[in-house]
Symmetry: C2
Subunit: 344 residues, 2 copies
Amino acid sequence: MTLRTLRNANAPTLKDLARIAGVSPITASRALHRPELVAEATRLRVAQAVEQSGYVPNSLAGGLTSRQTRLVAAIVPSVGHSLFSDMLDALIHTLAAQRYETTLGISSYDPEHEETWLAAMLSRRPDGIVLTGTEHTARTRRLLVNADVPVVELWDYQPHPLDMVVGFSQEDAGRAAFRHLAACGYRRPAILRADDSRAARRALGFTRAAAEAGAPVPAQIVFSEAIPQSGRGRDALNALRAQAPEADAVFCSSDALAQGVLSHAHALGLRMPEEFGVLGFGDQALALDAWPALSTVRVDGAAIGRLGAEALIARMAGGVAAAAQDVGFEVVGRGSTRGHQAAR
Amino acid sequence: MTLRTLRNANAPTLKDLARIAGVSPITASRALHRPELVAEATRLRVAQAVEQSGYVPNSLAGGLTSRQTRLVAAIVPSVGHSLFSDMLDALIHTLAAQRYETTLGISSYDPEHEETWLAAMLSRRPDGIVLTGTEHTARTRRLLVNADVPVVELWDYQPHPLDMVVGFSQEDAGRAAFRHLAACGYRRPAILRADDSRAARRALGFTRAAAEAGAPVPAQIVFSEAIPQSGRGRDALNALRAQAPEADAVFCSSDALAQGVLSHAHALGLRMPEEFGVLGFGDQALALDAWPALSTVRVDGAAIGRLGAEALIARMAGGVAAAAQDVGFEVVGRGSTRGHQAAR
DNA sequence: CTGTTAGCGCTTTCAC
DNA sequence: GTGAAAGCGCTAACAG
């Protein structure tokens, strides 16, 4: 099983490099990492020696001594969901620009997976940790506290983070969704959503806003998948019309689902938006061009990734960063509402 | 800038753990990693010591000695494209199941980025490397050869890989696309595609198949974005009808684009599939349920990721694996054609 | 089943 | 501007 040969056991080391350049190992190291401390001529001789020998530094050894790895460990629930992939893309790019590399875990929406992943990651001594969401196991929290490493929780805003947080309030987004539909004149909006805790919290906000407005309790259809695709639109709409025939609008837990519903509603001959309203959730910036009848609660995943990375970078460099950033959201299409935005 | 304090400088080490458990460090190490070599009672005492001290192993030190990191460095062009994210997801999961972790780079379709990323990654001494595509700079190739590390190139099949390859032939996919449209009775199919080298190779196959069939040279509209979204469908179709009014079918370089085109074609009142045919490319398994008029060249990104990971795992464990695996593709919708599949 | 010795490749610290 | 000594935390190799 683990019979690997000692591959490339005689790769050139810093010592070899130093010998070739005719300097001591430490001078070679400085020529590579802190060239301003070294004479130009020396630097050139070392650079030439690198070329000649094909030297590749060993950052395991470097990290062991310096206690810095320039590694950030990040975990997301899924890479297939465009919301998270935009966030991830921005995160990785922003970190890479400061020469931090990212190792990626996928939790599949399971805090136990996250815990297992974290335990494994911590042994690599990352300089920073990125988690998605704010639900973690007790051991996850304990490991993080003991490790004493900068942590940023992305996506869900909450006022009391583990360390730092960048995101928006799911409940507020749900409230805004209801108010948008109500303002558009719909009287019996329903909810069509995935079985995931964040969508559930949005549904809660939606339901509360309905109660506050004195509207009837919205019907709620829950799909068992975490990420229903657009192809599920037909089933979804059929289920809705069977279980809540009175509904005159629907808040879908993703843009893809909303597009699928809309497309099937067209096929059924429903007049939209007059007769039936469809509201999505996500960041597909272009969806509205293609389907003018659609509205959506738009979240800027890229901004969350970028701001999260920036906060982490500040802390990793020994600085301070805002502990909590609420980036808000926006309801777009046929009358827009902007979510709140604040930082503390 | 780099004034970080030596964070957590007194975290417990293996030595501490050993002292607490009343054994030597090497025995503690074995109790952790090779429990079968250690007496049950000893193992328990060490486990207890871990609990008591909050010990977290340091795999930098471990890797330095053992020359094994259980780290795989992978790079993809983009995480936002569903094809790559499916592949990535399968890759990461398959590796994680064997206790390999993945660090992720994003090339943005640029071989120079890939080179820079690789140079940085190699210093972490990964056990394996995953690249997307087969276009690499000369230095990338040289670094890889010198590093003497298992490499798998995903996505594009080619018979002579750097080390191992798992993918399909873009040109064959393009050929199959043409033949499918021709078999459906379309006489003047056109191409609507992104400006990326793989889409270009599919277009080449498409054009060659047309030539072989004695059909006129297909019109080709190239978008400047690498990943046109469905919202671009309207512009795309308008451009097509302006520049190639004779076209009676179109091969789109992504499913999202195809959906957008289809949706707008509906709006224009085109009768489909009789009057106008739309063929996509991708893996959105559900697209066809929602849009029965659509066909697509379907690629199984998840299979590529899984098979690639399996090949790499075999090599990392010191075994052998097929050097080249062509996983093929499938044309689905209104008469299906299956792409080839082979392994060597 | 357990321990001793040595050293992985690098950077810190202190000296010149 | 450069170097010598020491050690980061762990595991391979060998011995018992």
